[in-house]
Symmetry: C2
Subunit: 468 residues, 2 copies
């Protein structure tokens, strides 16, 4: 690459690639440390996949946990993530994440002014409620404040600029990038430009959940027949560019299926709000073929997703009026779209889905006994404190079928967000944060830990690059 | 690499890197197709890890299965491997393997003259006995015949020649290699030489089980504290060289732990013969802390290995005289080394390992009932036909603790053994076979399927490269 004939079109201290949570956190942090930052984004607008997330962020030891008297600490969150990750998580990255999670959450409030709802949620695989959701229940709530911050810090964000390749010096240090300006996403064309960087490049380009050929190389099941919750532009160009300069890919075959997805809508959709926030806590999942439960509804994502996939057809989740009202969530969109259906009685529900009513009632009665006694001997589900037997109409039902949701693998990084090569050596001038990096979550990411990862490692990358 | 100043030191049609089962199969096949072949080996002698294997090879529909009236077919072997691989196996590679397995086995007999024992063994995860073991119960029996064949075909094998890097043309096609001749394994030094290839290079360099930094990048648990059954030279140089020219690494984090390893000896050792061929079929594995079984002893390797690792300390395997004599194996070496201990009674065994005798007898009595009734309701172990209750002294016991045994991940290849890049495109002139390739076994390799893989894909690579 050094032997190409080119001239630098421009120069900056730090180039940040991507405008999701990780990229913007990195840009803000770097700029705060008094270096010039340029942010590029291949699409027309900011946010990447972050903008379609629920915005839930996990952290231990927070003011909201204290308010609701929830006992938690970094060690417990570490253990929860390690258990879900089947021990494959990088210990140094996981330690860094849990140690900085509360501070990252606090930063979004104090520095960015993100408004959070006055609640703490429990997601599958977490031992205690430790997930905080911004007003509007949308990642956009956080992103808007990040964008405001970049404006107040005079950080330029250039849209329709697509990262193409790293330019490295003879020692292998990253000294610049080739990009396409005026990028046309559909034709993958644009005007070549070379950006020189004085301090380094922070890759925050996200995962490869929508990159069918790339994900299929690692998990051949994930053909184009399997849908994704990700935006269609969630592809691996940035990651592949790093692999071309021999950055180490770690754990690429660890790809997460969203267990709360509906086959009755495209993309992330509206169903997951019902499934992940209501159904899994308060309801049951049954196999429509035999009307029986087959999994811990509050298991980690890998367990639940694999279990649903392994039965070979969509399953059915059922909750009741108490669950929905207790949750406080408005699921009217999911109902309007027909993703969640409502029924005045279990008889109607059974008729609609062609279930054996007697078996259905047996399954629900058994589960209701477990709720009353506070423990589930069949699947070890944690019965949450405000759970009630499923008895109060209307009843809500949603079909579930996994979609590719998150890619745990990515570039190997140090706890300072420095990218590693296959010899475990640091590639100078290159940093990665967020989903493009691998190893934090091991075999499976717990819900609401992605935003924590993006902000923690995005900020670290911003601090590190500016200190060079 | 094209811009380096160098001259070609010599030229061959085909360069084969490695002298294990895959490399030698490839070399023989290519030479049989009338091309010039040069084989290089970094060590002083041939065989790599293949030479320390038991030599067991799996295939369906063989003459030995017919002789013993074992019903089997390619579809059943496919399903067994897919189940063990948790569905991550590449369907095209797996289909190729099972479709060519019997032919590969037959080739070792008809073309190489390998003598096999008159028996068919059942290994964990296989639905039926389909594993054939050469006389001497050693991979060396097969390798010696392969070496004889290379001699009769005038294929030169050069020792102490270490592969360093691929040389590619402007189009990315592999046209040669940089090697170190007179290679000194300890200092990693030698004389640089450049070998031009007219047709291509077949990489058959094996896995990365003994490459601690490389394997730890993918699975951070596998520090230098975790031992390996592999030879210490089982490192990733060849694989890393391919990654440098942007070959695709697939499923690198899928690393298999040998469940039949002893913490009381180094390397592969003598314990696995007892554990894998006798104990798992006829005996029980217990946790010495509570003297209870905790896993299906005939489960696939991943299940058994992960289960042992997850209890956090070595477990204990127990079998009896009937098991050992029924198996027909000579385990005197394991006994002499103290890896397997013998006891005149369960009382003595319990005293030696500090077990509660009453609990031990309970566990074994319960298991014996399962053997008598032909099914194991606790862990679903398949009770083999010639299994008997564990009652006949002497009793044999061995401690078990996993070691890194096999690396399922490696280079992405087509069913023609052509290496893929991250865009799923074929890298011209580059082939890979055996453990250096990934995707055949998915999340877990079943016992005795590695040699099948090496011979099937080695031969295919040899055929393909010579047809170019």
């Amino acid at each position: 690459m050094l032997n190409e004939n080119f001239t630098w079109n421009r120069t900056t201290d730090v180039l940040v690639v991507g405008t999701g949570f990780a990229g913007l956190s990195a840009a803000i942090e770097a700029r705060t440390h008094n270096v010039d930052v340029l942010v590029i984004e291949k699409m027309n607008s900011y946010g990447g996949n972050s903008i379609i997330s629920d915005g839930g962020i996990a952290a231990p030891n927070t003011h909201l946990q204290k308010k609701y008297m929830i006992k938690d600490d970094a060690a417990l969150m570490y253990q929860d993530m390690l258990t879900a990750g089947l021990g494959l998580n990088y210990p140094n990255l996981l330690k860094t994440l849990v140690a900085n999670a509360e501070n990252a959450f606090r930063w979004t409030i104090d520095e960015l002014g993100v408004p959070y709802m006055d609640r703490v949620d429990l997601f599958g695989g977490h031992s205690v409620p430790r997930c905080y959701t911004p007003e509007g229940k949308s990642g956009a709530t956080i992103l808007k404040r990040m964008i405001s911050k970049t404006e107040s810090l005079d950080i330029p964000i250039e849209y329709r600029v697509s990262f193409q390749e790293f330019l490295v010096d003879a020692a292998g240090k990253v000294i610049g990038a080739t990009v396409l300006e005026n990028y046309d996403y559909k034709s993958h064309s644009g005007t070549i430009s070379h950006i020189k960087v004085r301090k380094g490049i922070i890759l925050a380009t996200g995962g490869y959940g929508a990159d069918v050929p790339f994900r299929q190389l690692q998990d051949p099941r994930l053909t184009s027949e399997i849908s994704t919750t990700n935006k269609p532009f969630t592809t691996a160009e940035g990651l592949k560019a790093a692999l071309k300069i021999n950055a180490a890919a770690v754990q690429l075959s660890q790809i997460q299926l969203g267990a709360w997805s509906s086959p009755d809508e495209k993309g992330y959709g509206h169903g997951p709000l019902f499934a992940d926030y209501i159904l899994f806590q308060y309801g049951v999942i049954i196999d429509p073929k035999d009307t029986k439960r087959f999994v811990n509804e509050l298991g980690d994502r890998k367990t639940t997703g694999d279990a649903i996939l392994s039965i070979g057809h969509p399953c059915l989740g059922i909750a009741d009026h108490h669950a929905v009202s207790q949750s406080g969530w408005d699921i009217s969109k999911a109902i309007k779209k027909g993703v969640v259906n409502t029924f005045e009685s279990l008889d109607h529900l059974a008729t609609h889905y062609d279930l054996n009513l007697h078996d259905l009632k047996n399954t629900i009665n058994t589960y209701n006994d477990y709720v009353s006694q506070g423990s589930d001997p069949d699947y070890g589900k944690q019965i949450v404190e405000d759970a009630r037997p499923i008895v109060s109409p209307p009843f809500y039902a949603m079909r579930l079928w996994p979609k590719v949701h998150f890619t745990m693998g990515g570039l190997g990084i140090t706890e300072k967000a420095q990218v590693l090569d296959y010899n475990g050596k640091i590639i100078e001038g290159l940093y990665a944060a967020g989903e493009v990096a691998g190893g934090v979550h091991g075999a499976s990411r717990l819900g609401s830990c992605a935003i924590t990862e993006c902000i923690v490692f995005g900020r670290i990358a911003g601090q590190m690059v500016s200190s060079r």
